[in-house]
Symmetry: C2
Subunit: 196 residues, 2 copies
C-alpha cells in the first residue's frame, strides 16, 4: 500500500505536500477532501485526524501525520530540500514556523474570506491587511539578499512560503510593489514545475 495524502486542492497548505512529494518523486494516492464541503468533519475523517484538518499524510501501515510543515519535513528528510548544515537548517526551520505564525494567518485567511466566502475587500479586518503586508515586506527584504530564502538553492522554506504568497492577490494583496517576491515566485514555480 502506497502513501495516502488527504488534501484540498484549493489549500496552499495541502499543495505544499503535493509539490514536495512530486519534486522528490515520492509515490502517493491523492484523496481530494473538501474543507468547505465538510469532508474534514465526517466521522471517518475525524478517526484519521481528530483535529479535522487537511493536509493529512497516511503512511503505508496506516499511521497518520498532520500539519503541513511537519509532513513536508518528514517527506524530505535526507534530501537536498533540507540543508545539511545545522545553522542553515535552523534558518529553514525559522521560516517554517514564521510562515505558520506570521504569514498564513493573514495572507491565507484574507484570501479564504475574499475568494471562498465572498467577502468584499472593504470588509476584511484591517489587521489582516496590515499584518499581511508586514509579512510581505519581511519576505521582500529577505529575497533581495539571495535567489531563495535560505542558501543558494530551493528548500522547504521556499515551498512553504510560496504556497500562499503566489495567490496573495486573491486576498487583495497587490504584489506589484514586491519585485523580489515576484521574481522568486517565478523561480520557485519553475523549480517545482507548477503550471496552473
Amino acid at each position: 500500500m502506497t502513501l495516502r495524502i488527504y488534501g484540498d486542492s484549493i489549500s496552499g497548505n495541502c499543495l505544499k505536500v503535493k509539490w514536495t512529494a512530486d519534486h522528490l518523486g515520492v509515490a502517493y494516492d491523492w484523496f481530494e477532501t473538501s474543507v468547505i464541503g465538510g469532508e474534514t468533519r465526517t466521522p471517518a475523517f475525524l478517526r484519521l485526524n481528530p483535529a479535522g484538518q487537511v493536509p493529512l499524510l497516511v503512511l503505508s501501515d496506516g499511521r497518520p501525520l498532520a500539519q503541513s510543515n511537519a509532513i513536508i519535513i518528514y517527506l524530505a528528510e535526507g534530501s537536498d530540500l533540507i540543508p545539511s548544515h545545522p545553522y542553515v537548517r535552523a534558518q529553514m526551520m525559522q521560516w517554517l514556523f514564521w510562515e505558520q505564525y506570521s504569514h498564513e494567518p493573514y495572507i491565507a485567511v484574507a484570501r479564504f474570506q475574499m475568494r471562498y466566502l465572498g467577502k468584499p475587500a472593504a470588509e476584511l479586518d484591517p489587521r489582516l491587511i496590515e499584518r499581511g503586508h508586514g509579512a510581505l515586506a519581511r519576505l521582500e527584504s529577505a529575497l533581495t539578499e539571495g535567489p531563495f530564502l535560505v542558501g543558494p538553492s530551493l528548500t522547504l522554506a521556499d515551498i512553504s512560503l510560496v504556497a500562499y504568497t503566489r495567490v496573495a492577490h486573491e486576498g487583495g494583496f497587490d504584489l506589484s510593489p514586491y519585485g523580489a517576491i515576484r521574481a522568486w515566485i517565478a523561480r520557485v514555480e519553475a523549480a517545482l514545475n507548477i503550471t496552473d
Copy 2:
C-alpha cells in the same frame, strides 16, 4: 564568546529556550528584554532581529536565530529531546507546528490580555476561550494515552506545549477538568527542574 539568549522572562516562548538550554547543559548569557517595555523595538534590537521578536538566539560568531521552536530544535539536535525514529520525530514536529498555530494564539494571547494588559475575563474575545478549550481538549486526549506527548520520555513537544499550558489559568482557563494535563505539567516541571 558564549551563546546569547535575548528573552522576556514572562514569555512562555522565551522560557522554552531557557529550559531547553538548561536541560541540555548548554552555556549561555541571558539578556532580559522586555516586550511591554519596548526593548524589542529599539534600533539595536531590530538590527539583530528585524522581526522585533524574542526569543532570539545569537551564536558565538554573531549569527542570529529567531522563532522559539526553531531555536529549541537547533539547541537539541542530536540529544534525546528529539526522537531518532523518523515517524516519532515527525510526530514531535507536528506538535511543535500545532502549538504555534492552534494553541499559543489562544492560550497565550488570552493570558497576555488578562494578566499583562489588565483586560477582564468577560471582555476577552469568546473565540479565544472556545478555541483555547479546544486546544486543551486535544492535549487532554493525547495525554490519556501516555506520560508524554510523543513516545515514552520528554521531548521538545512537551517543553513547547507546557510553556503556556502551565500558566493557562492566568488567561482564565480553569485546568481542573483536565486531569491528564495537570499530571503531565507536574511531570514536565519535575523533568525540567522548574520550581517557580
